[in-house]
């Protein structure tokens, strides 16, 4: 079986790695793929909660690596997708409990069983991050359109390159269309211009994501949620389908146009094309 190991990472914390992993994993499973999502954030387990599987954990990644249990025993079947499994992180261990060789072996163990293996990386650029990318075929970087996040993403791109991995792709998360329209937030073109990598998806800021996480249900199940639709599109792109990029920067309203014309509003940012 031709399986793909994809690591979701970001450098900066709190930009949406875990949410992205849960939603891409669920979306791929919804499209009939066999998927494993792996939480490699040892000591700060969270992917289980985002997927609503926190009460079902018996064994974890460290138990598998140390031979305390078989891989099958640690894999938790998803509530709704029969071909989606979670390998949770250990909560009471620290990130040095696993080394790079063990992580690579774990990926090899998972490959024959699944089409896609998504690894949720810890924040930072230390051992935990290195472990998360060591066995990966592809890297997806999650960034928000703000300085600290993009700066960290740039650092990660350099480290991924140095590790001999192919060029990562970007999920631009938490974009606020109305702020971009007013010129108060960097737009997609700005971020792509400075990072110089390809875009996998644009996820608009969406309050319903918090509601979804509260319930432990990935947003991709919510048909009305824009963020859910955007994650579904990104998952299709992972599968190699051509899906046009979502138009998150809708046209300005009449009032905004008027205000701008009068000079009261922020200037219109002209659209730049990536060279």
């Amino acid at each position: 079986m031709d399986s793909r190991v994809i690591t979701i990472t970001s450098g900066k914390g709190g930009v949406g790695k875990t949410t992205t992993t849960a939603n891409l994993g669920t979306a791929l499973a919804m499209m009939g793929k066999k998927v494993a999502v792996v939480d490699s954030d040892i000591g700060l387990r969270n992917l289980d909660a985002v997927m609503g599987l926190e009460n079902r954990i018996v064994y974890d990644l460290v138990d598998v690596v140390e031979g305390q249990c078989r891989l099958r025993q640690a894999l938790i079947k998803d509530k709704r997708q029969s071909e989606l499994y979670l390998l949770p992180a250990a909560q009471t261990r620290d990130k040095n409990a696993v080394n790079s060789v063990q992580m690579e072996q774990l990926c090899q163990q998972l490959r024959p069983e699944f089409d896609y293996i998504l690894i949720d990386s810890p924040a930072g650029i230390e051992q935990g991050f290195r472990n998360a990318i060591v066995g990966a075929d592809e890297i997806v970087i999650v960034a928000n359109p703000e300085m600290a996040s993009v700066r960290d993403a740039d650092r990660i791109i350099g480290l991924v390159e140095a590790a001999g991995k192919p060029e990562p792709r970007l999920i631009l998360n938490r974009l606020r269309p109305e702020m971009v329209r007013r010129g108060d937030m960097m737009d997609v073109a700005d971020v792509l211009e400075v990072l110089g990598i390809d875009l996998l998806g644009i996820i608009p800021e969406d309050e319903t994501i918090i509601v979804a996480i509260n319930k432990g249900e990935p947003i991709v199940y919510d048909k009305r949620a824009r963020a859910g639709k955007a994650f579904l599109n990104a998952a299709q792109r992972i599968m190699g389908e051509e899906v046009p990029l979502e138009d998150v920067e809708d046209a300005p309203t009449l009032m905004e146009r008027l205000r701008r014309l009068m000079g009261f509003g922020p200037a219109l940012t002209e659209k730049r094309v990536r060279s």
């Binding site: 703000e146 300085m147 993009v150 700066r151 740039d154 650092r155 350099g158 702020m179 971009v180 007013r182 010129g183 108060d184 937030m185 960097m186 737009d187 700005d190 211009e193 400075v194 701008r260 014309l261 009068m262 000079g263 009261f264 509003g265 922020p266 200037a267 219109l268 940012t269």
Partner: protein
Amino acid sequence: MGVFEFMLGRKKPSPGEVARERLKVVLANDRIKVNPELLELIKMDLLKAISQRMEVDEQRVQVNMTREGGLDKILADMPVKRQKIAFEWDPPAYTPAANALKGNKLHVEVERMDEE
């Protein structure tokens, strides 16, 4: 650009544009990979070159990267212990010194000690 801004002849950048421009500068700096090892090598090269002419206090030598007026600079702080000026003196033929040297050159070394 709004009508009023146009009349004033200026355009204030939006916060989004400010972020983009600041980010470009920050990333340009981040990407210049002047690591400590490279700086140490540069320091050794400088020491080697300077030591031929002057004796510097190697313990107090500092070589750092700095940024001034939009340019990256290497700032080398090299305290001189003792100036050593050496040259070959080839006096003009008409001088008595030239006769004394009989066509040879004179090796001259001048030292100036630190006042300590």
